[in-house]
């Protein structure tokens, strides 16, 4: 057996189009369940929008934080970690410990939890 990482890309869209995407939540749940039953699922997660990202770099021993996602075409994705942390500061601290932070970049993106996903899937009117 080998492990494979699947990276999911899509453009961020406006609220109307996003609502259509959210309506597909049952299909996602069904798919996740079938992968789990087959014993294939190691870890999965849905990320918060790119605006919630923080990029960590360590240069000359100093940790530099950038508000926003990592964006340059030269460097390519070389790995990933999923950490369970109490808050952003803890995740940033560990991101700065990774050796790659000294020559590359580590983008820290919060993963949505169950209630955050269902909140988005809910029609806006129900929240007001």
């Amino acid at each position: 057996m080998s492990q494979y990482m699947l990276l999911l890309y899509a453009p961020e869209v406006g609220p109307a189009e996003q609502a259509e995407r959210e309506a597909e939540l049952p299909f996602w749940l069904e798919l996740n369940e079938s992968l789990r039953e087959a014993g294939l699922l190691v870890a999965r997660g849905r990320l918060h929008p790119a605006a919630s990202a923080t990029t960590v770099r360590v240069r000359d021993g100093e940790t530099e934080l950038t508000d926003g996602p990592f964006a340059t075409t030269k460097e390519i994705l070389g790995g990933y970690y999923v950490l369970e942390c109490a808050e952003l500061d803890e995740a940033l601290r560990h991101a700065a410990r990774l050796p790659i932070a000294r020559w590359g970049s580590v983008e820290v993106r919060p993963i949505m939890n169950g209630s955050e996903i269902s909140r988005r899937a809910e029609p806006a009117a129900a929240r007001e």
Binding site: A51, D89, E116, S118, R127
Partner: protein, 427 residues
């Protein structure tokens, strides 16, 4: 939005006036505590906004309560309970509602919590708004919005962006705080010095935005300076053991005290030595000098204290000739050790040139002339020209003046440089 009724109706409307006062003086504290209780920046802010809106109506009807701040606290908490009950998606909603209801049931809401906990809330809010994972413009906007008394529109005008742009910036920052779980706490001891420097930087940036630029809405810009000073005072109250907190407040007060004199009738910049001292705000400057003394007593020198001290020496001289240049040169020397930068070195060279003669100044200037960071920096060549002229090198001085004139983007400054070049040639 300002409190409910708006500013124009304040005269003859004690309810609106009291609400405006409470908005200015107590909103940040009420908001900070409510954020801790509800665990959600946006929800707390909406609830506080609702409370202020209803305050004007209720106070016009029933009269202004004895303690407007306590009234707002209770009203905001009840609005938060309503909003939490309606919002089915907040996971630990039941727990939060129960906690708020428990607080609400207490007899004296204003004294129901330890005073120090409430004080800490404002510090938590400051550190959250100035979190380094937020972009600097977002930190500035959020700090002003959450802790200051300015509306989104006023902040937008002060920073010369449209109101929707500024609104989006603030909303996005609040969303990131929620989504990324940016903590609502005062940083631990080992991170505190670094994070506090970040907070002071945001406050000084707000001040400079109001102080430095000459375009834009002047009234709003003056308000930015006042807001920054208010934040500086708040930080002194909350973190009185940190010398740089006092140093920053001193620096802002000493600059602000000379605000009216630093620009002439045509809006042109007037250098310190030529300012009309009768336009200085004596009280502000006295307070600045006192604040600087408080900072120095803590015996932990820092950048802001040194900058404030340099400004204080300039202020205390009766005119340019009476300035204690040796002391200014020493202060720049200390500043260069603490936070080395080519601009600090340049200022040091100029001060040494006055204190110890042009040759000593030129020696310090020498390495800067090859620095690519200063290649197009007009003041470098203006200082170089002055030092060369005083050292008797007229040809060298003329070349340096020409360079400075070519790089000058300010008409008043250019005229002055041209005058000096002419005087050199005819002398």
């Amino acid at each position: 939005m300002t409190a409910g009724g708006g500013r124009r109706s304040e005269a003859g409307d004690p309810a609106a006036a009291a609400a405006a006062r409470a908005f200015r003086d107590e909103r940040a504290a009420v908001l900070a505590t409510l954020i801790r209780h509800v665990g959600d920046f946006q929800l707390a802010e909406d609830a506080v906004q609702d409370a202020f809106a209803s305050a004007v109506v209720a106070w016009r009807r029933d009269g202004v309560p004895a303690n407007p701040g306590a009234w707002i606290t209770v009203a905001a908490r009840r609005r938060a309970i309503d909003r939490l009950r309606r919002d089915r998606s907040v996971a630990d909603r039941a727990e939060r509602v129960a906690e708020l209801v428990r607080l609400d049931a207490r007899e004296h809401p204003s004294v129901s919590e330890d005073e120090s906990t409430i004080t800490d809330d404002r510090l938590r809010l400051i550190f959250t708004c100035c979190h380094p994972a937020l972009a600097l413009p977002a930190r500035v906007a959020l700090t002003l919005r959450a802790l200051g008394g300015l509306s989104t529109g006023e902040i937008a005008r002060a920073f010369l962006v449209s109101e929707p742009t500024m609104g989006k910036r603030i909303v996005r920052a609040k969303r990131k705080i929620a989504d990324a779980h940016i903590p609502y706490r005062v940083p631990a001891d080992e991170e505190l010095p670094d994070r506090l420097r970040g907070v002071l930087r945001v406050v000084y940036l707000i001040f400079n935005e109001g102080y430095a630029a000459s375009d834009g809405d002047r009234l709003v810009r003056a308000e930015l300076c006042s807001e920054a000073i208010r934040l500086g005072r708040l930080l002194c109250e909350l973190m009185p053991d940190d010398a740089e907190v006092w140093g920053l407040l001193a620096l802002m007060l000493l600059h602000d005290g000379r605000r009216a004199a630093r620009v002439d009738r045509e809006g042109r910049y007037v250098p310190l030595g030529e300012q009309d001292r009768s336009l200085w705000d004596e009280d502000r400057i006295r307070e600045g000098l006192r604040t600087l003394e408080s900072a120095v007593r803590l015996r932990r020198p820092g950048e802001y204290q040194l900058q404030a001290a340099i400004t204080a020496v300039h202020i205390q001289a009766d005119d340019g000739d009476a300035t204690d240049w040796a002391q200014i040169a020493d202060l720049y020397g200390a500043l260069a050790k603490l936070s080395p930068s080519p601009v600090v070195e340049l200022n040091r060279a100029a001060a040494v040139g006055f204190a110890a003669g042009p040759q000593a100044g030129l020696e310090l200037l020498e390495p800067l002339l090859g620095d690519p960071a200063l290649e197009r920096y007009q003041p470098l060549y203006a200082v170089h020209a002055e030092l060369l002229r005083r050292a008797g090198d007229s040809a060298g001085a003329a070349t340096a003046y020409e360079r400075a004139i070519a790089l000058s983007r300010n008409a008043v400054e250019r005229v002055e440089l041209e005058r000096r070049l002419e005087a050199l040639k005819s002398g």
